[in-house]
């Protein structure tokens, strides 16, 4: 079961710690906001992703199971 990283753009305040801790999936745009690579996380990256989510001061970063968002 793979996981993905997602950001809540409303609570994100461009602190940028996520990009420091998970540069494999997160880059910052011109204004400091995260650009997320939605590729699934391999197990090695999962721990780093969780750490990045924990470090976010506003809880904007989420680690989600693939396909956990219900349709429609």
């Amino acid at each position: 079961m793979s996981h993905r990283v997602r950001v809540n753009p409303i609570t994100c305040e461009a602190h940028g710690m996520c990009a420091e801790l998970l540069p494999e999936r997160i880059a910052l745009d011109d204004w400091g906001y995260p650009i997320i690579d939605e590729q699934p996380l391999d197990p090695k990256l999962l721990a780093h992703a969780r750490r990045a989510a924990q470090a976010c001061p506003t809880f904007a970063l989420l680690v989600e199971k693939q396909g956990s968002r219900s349709a429609p």
Binding site: H15, M17, P57
Partner: protein, 241 residues
């Protein structure tokens, strides 16, 4: 390990309570300064944000460890009658009740800040953020507690340490409050005013207070403990109480 009350030198707990108290003050100062650096998003390539943030959290936790030691050793020390309850409920005990109680208040505030931070994901962002402001209240109360209860108030090392920490905290408050002026001018003005009044008040009070005559008696040391040869108001070396 305890030493008999009269005649013998101070117990090791008494030394520990003073030293851990001083270190806790230092660590709390460091934590507050790092917190301001954190919220101001200052960073450099060698000091990324997550490092500053991690240091801030670790300094706070380390301060907590020293505080716990500070409280335990003061309870265990048989000189002054301090109960464990006094660690959580202020102004109960008979030894310098007001000044000791301030320490309890500062500790309670710190506990609230640390607990909400550890349980941040449970309590939610808003509760965490609102509680965190209490840190700015906890620090000056802790400093006053140190001046009021500590028998080393007049020693150069502790005075220098306290004043140095105060200057660091003042600088941190300025760094926190000034950027973004004049947005929210009322709140910022209040913060600056509070810091100024506190510092000025402290400077005016110290000479006639803890640095003045017979502070031990005036601060509420029980009469039974006064008159002990080492309870005189001057204590430059470590042998006084």
């Amino acid at each position: 390990m305890s030493f008999p009350l009269a005649g013998a030198g101070p117990s090791v707990y008494w030394y520990m309570t003073r030293s851990t108290g001083a270190v806790a003050l230092l660590l709390l100062t460091v934590s507050l300064a790092l917190g301001v650096i954190d919220v101001r998003r200052l960073q450099s390539p060698r000091w990324p944000r997550f490092v500053i943030d991690g240091l801030h959290r670790n300094a706070s936790l380390l301060a907590l460890v020293f505080l716990v030691l500070h409280i335990l050793t003061s309870v265990l020390d048989s000189f002054a009658p301090i109960s464990l309850t006094a660690a959580f409920v202020p102004f109960l005990d008979s030894y310098r009740p007001f000044w000791l109680g301030l320490g309890t208040v500062a500790f309670d505030l710190m506990l609230a800040v640390i607990l909400t931070s550890v349980l941040r994901q449970r309590v939610g962002y808003r509760v965490w953020r609102a509680t965190h402001w209490l840190a700015y209240a906890s620090w000056p109360i802790a400093l006053l507690h140190g001046f009021g209860t500590g028998s080393d108030a007049k020693t150069t090392w502790l005075l220098a340490l306290s004043v140095g920490c105060l200057l660091v905290v003042l600088a941190a408050v300025l760094a926190r409050v000034l950027p973004g002026w004049p947005r929210d001018a009322a709140r910022r003005g209040l913060a600056l005013g509070g810091a100024a009044i506190f510092s000025l008040g402290l400077v005016l009070w110290l000479p006639s207070g803890p640095l003045g005559h017979e502070w031990a008696r005036r601060s509420g040391t029980p009469a039974a403990l006064l008159g002990h040869p080492s309870s005189s108001s001057s204590s430059t070396s470590g042998s006084g109480r």
